[in-house]
Amino acid sequence: MTKSELIERLAERMRVQLPEKDVELAVKAILDCMAHSLANGERIEVRGFGSFSLHYRPPRVGRNPKTGEAVSLSGKYVPHFKAGKELRERVNAGMKG
């Protein structure tokens, strides 16, 4: 399912009727809000879905794959997702069903 398919489904299924254009803006706003939160080092916690947090990657010496030259890479943060209980259980039950 892509972002545009998600927008279509939401426009069809919400009890509250909203034009697809508004649903599109809302989906973009939700994702921006989430990205912004992580960019500020703030976790995201959604019960039954999961949590997003940052994991630290320490500095390391990498290599330029073309020239083989060593380059030092500074430490950085990467986004990490941990699925919540309901999501884990439904996805796993989906496999059997």
Binding site: M1, T2, K3, V46, S51
Partner: protein
């Protein structure tokens, strides 16, 4: 402080002028549609943010950490999130104290 559904709904209310009921349902359904697609075995691709992929895990040996008893961990399907390039770039420069 963590970002929650309530805070996201509040943001939709303030930024887009959805009323509180619409904003709350929007956020609820947003996560439900993603769960539902994953439950049905579909990958979810949100460009600019990231992909939720499904991975099949084989049965493997495990242990009850309390009793030390050996019990197999059954085969299962799990969700993995792969952040997109845009999200990675936004987050990478965070210089905080986490």
């Amino acid at each position: 402080m963590a970002l929650t559904k309530a805070a996201i709904a509040e943001h939709l209310f303030e930024e887009l002028g959805l009323n509180k009921r619409e904003a709350k349902e929007m956020v609820e359904m947003f996560f439900e549609e993603i769960r539902s697609a994953l439950e049905q075995g579909y990958q979810v691709k949100l460009s600019g943010f990231g992909n939720f992929d499904l991975r099949e895990k084989k049965q493997r040996p495990g242990r009850n950490p309390k009793t030390g008893e050996e019990i197999p961990i059954s085969a299962r399907r799990v969700v993995v999130f792969r952040p997109g390039q845009k999200l990675k770039l936004k987050v990478e420069t965070y210089a905080g104290t986490e």
